[in-house]
Symmetry: C2
Subunit: 200 residues, 2 copies
């Protein structure tokens, strides 16, 4: 792999670990992508106007996806470093029922990856389809975990499951966001968290 | 596309629509995959012993994924024709916390696609990575829908969302399975269903 921008170096290292990237691919990616910084609590669409035509790679920070249902804000996903966030286009042309908004929970740096760059990349460097496939498999499994997590009947078991899978971020997410992600009231989450250590 | 087995013809047509398949790829797939029939209510693992080393394409019928949590059976996904079901290997090597069992809800025919065939296919015909990527994008979006669905606070809104997305299968799934999928009690689901037509 050629020299890379220091800011996104860890991200490119991660990608290169999944699928070796040629110098040409890295150079092309550096030319066609760019990073943005998003302040804590800001919506991504306030920073990146054409955000519906991009996906974002979290270089550092923490971003959540959320929907608004009957006026209620529901956290639907959480994305840490080296995670893609944003809508993935569906080749089956099924449009999602809910629009997922994106918000930085911490000051974050994101790599903006426009769809039209992705299309050109797949076309110009067919081997990048392997990387695309592997990234989608990883994100499919993350999505499966989110989907299964929310169907676990007991609130305590849902919190335990989340904590076990994300030991590093459990205290980085405001309670109100984590509660809707885990499908419980803030009071319930607070009570579960404040239980003696052996239990929570 | 070359002539194909009539049984899986619709499936191959669907795949060919996503990404044109050469005669060589279709011939190789026909040689290396096979179909099984699974009777209504049977577990897939009772029919296909090495089912953990395969994914399954639903040729016809209806299959559900479920987990057992504290002795409780929770439906986690539903797969109709042209849908992949089974665990997708994670290139990030994160093993799922819950093991998803598979069960036919109707008499079903499934195409068994062994992992080692998939590996050989990607290696021998690199263009099949494009098909793999597109299939994963479709299934990622399905998983996202499942994940968002279960976080919608109102039980009625969850049922409406499911019904709108799956108008054809809502009456093909036994209430007890659909209730856990939608995160509600059987009585609640039954009550919502029996409301006057304008409301349910």
């Amino acid at each position: 792999m050629s020299e890379i921008r220091s800011e996104s170096e860890l991200l490119f290292r991660f990608l290169n670990g999944l699928q070796p990237l040629s110098k040409e691919v890295v150079d092309y990616a550096m030319e066609q992508t760019f990073s943005i910084t998003v302040k804590k609590n800001a919506l991504i669409d306030s920073v990146q106007k054409n955000y519906k035509e991009c996906v974002f790679f979290v270089i550092n920070g923490l971003v959540r996806g959320f929907i608004i249902d009957e006026g209620k804000d529901i956290t639907t996903c959480l994305a840490l470093e080296n995670t893609l966030i944003g809508s993935i286009r569906d080749p089956g042309n099924i449009s999602p029922t809910y629009f997922e908004h994106l918000q930085a929970i911490e000051n974050s740096t994101l790599l903006v990856v426009p769809y039209n760059f992705i299309d050109k990349l797949y076309d110009k460097f067919p081997e990048t389809n392997i990387l695309g496939r592997k990234l989608l498999a990883i994100h499919f499994n993350m999505s499966q975990e989110r989907s299964i997590l929310s169907r676990i009947p007991s609130a305590e078991a849902r919190y335990k499951q989340f904590k076990d899978n994300h030991p590093k971020i459990k205290f980085r997410i405001p309670l109100k966001y984590l509660a809707t992600y885990l499908g419980m009231r803030i009071e319930t989450l607070s009570r579960i968290r404040n239980k003696p250590k052996s239990a929570s």
